[in-house]
């Protein structure tokens, strides 16, 4: 480790001073959303890429964008909005009341 400049910087910034990395999560949903991967992957057999874009294939990551006022990741407002969840649930005829996904 610490071979490249970036890695070195990472170690100096976080590893050595043992600071928690403030990861920026593309798909971080608002606090009031309860999302269960188990339900979507084990029961509904969804592909990761159907919600998260094909990060697996890409070898570089997009820049993380955040809305200045609301503080939410732009990705959510691109293709992980409530409307998207609802649309998919409707399509699959899964009962959708607010409490299904909101906590």
């Amino acid at each position: 480790m610490g071979t490249t400049a970036a890695e070195k910087q990472f170690i100096d910034r976080y590893v050595t001073p043992q600071r928690e990395v403030q990861w920026a999560v593309y798909a971080r949903q608002p606090e009031n959303v309860y999302f269960s991967h188990a339900a979507h992957v084990k029961l509904a057999h969804l592909e990761c890429s159907s919600c998260h874009r094909d990060h697996g294939q890409a070898d570089t990551l997009r820049l993380y964008e955040e809305d200045r006022i609301s503080g939410y990741s732009r990705d959510i407002w691109r293709d992980m909005k409530m409307d998207d969840c609802v649309a998919c649930h409707r399509q699959r005829g899964i009962e959708n009341s607010c409490l299904d996904c909101h906590k």
């Binding site: 608002p30 009031n32 309860y34 188990a38 339900a39 029961l43 009962e95 009341s97 607010c98």
Partner: protein
């Protein structure tokens, strides 16, 4: 999946008024303490235990405790129809009356509509002593100032149970796996919880028992919280609409 009608039966004769349910509820649902000096009418207690008595003096005096939470009305649910922006909804799958703080405008019309005063307004932004926010329950989102909230049968626990079921590859949750905090905390087991539609469940049985009644039944809101007491005066005071006698 068969639709459920989650409900409770509360045995007033068993309630010791210890308050464990109120505290357990607040812990489970990240309900903040009120600021210094706020009174009982500005605080938030999704379940509140009212001391009542028969109005007599010793030796005739008798006292009891009545826990009151959202009665999860099934018919003409007063708070649902009044909300101007669909922040309140009865979940058809569970019969739980849900309140969406993020959709709420804070007009408090639903609170005016609720005859049980089971809805609470966030007069302040939530605040906990420094460091205590670490001890908040991750399954429930803290509410912001200016919105209404209420009991939703510990929906965070319902999510968790769903999650566990899904991890086992099942749709249905195991009834024993989903119990609201107040039911779990009650030291005397005065509160029973379960699916009223399921004839096998305890609640379905106890709800039909003698001496069981519901609050303000005549309003026709079909509440899903059933109370029970063998003492006539308790039924008289608790079931009767606003009387002058026996104030907590």
């Amino acid at each position: 999946m068969k639709a459920k009608q989650y409900g409770m039966t509360i045995d007033i004769d068993r309630c010791t008024g210890c308050g464990a349910c109120m505290v357990a509820c607040a812990v489970e649902n990240n309900v903040p303490p009120v600021p210094e000096g706020a009174n009982d009418r500005k605080g938030i207690t999704w379940i509140r235990v009212f001391p009542i008595n028969n109005g007599a003096e010793w030796p005739g005096r008798q006292s009891a405790f009545v826990p009151v939470l959202c009665q999860q009305c099934g018919e003409h649910t007063p708070c649902v129809s009044v909300c101007p922006q669909q922040a309140v909804q009865v979940d058809p799958a569970t019969g739980i009356v849900g309140q969406m703080p993020e959709r709420c405008l804070g007009c408090r019309y639903c609170m005016a509509a609720c005859p049980y005063h089971a809805r609470y307004f966030n007069w302040w932004d939530p605040s906990w002593p420094a460091g205590m926010e670490k001890a908040l329950n991750p399954d429930v989102a803290p509410r912001m100032r200016g919105v209404v909230e209420k009991c939703n049968f510990c929906h965070g626990r319902w999510h968790a149970a769903k999650q566990r079921a899904a991890a086992r590859g099942q749709q249905e949750i195991d009834p024993a796996d989903y119990v609201p905090a107040c039911v779990e905390a009650c030291p005397t087991g005065a509160i029973e919880f379960g699916d009223l539609n399921d004839s096998q469940s305890t609640v379905a049985r106890t709800a039909g028992e003698d001496h069981s009644f519901r609050l303000l039944e005549k309003l026709g809101t079909d509440p899903k919280i059933h109370y029970r007491s063998k003492r006539d005066w308790v039924r008289r005071v608790a079931a009767a609409p606003g009387k002058e006698e026996a104030h907590g």
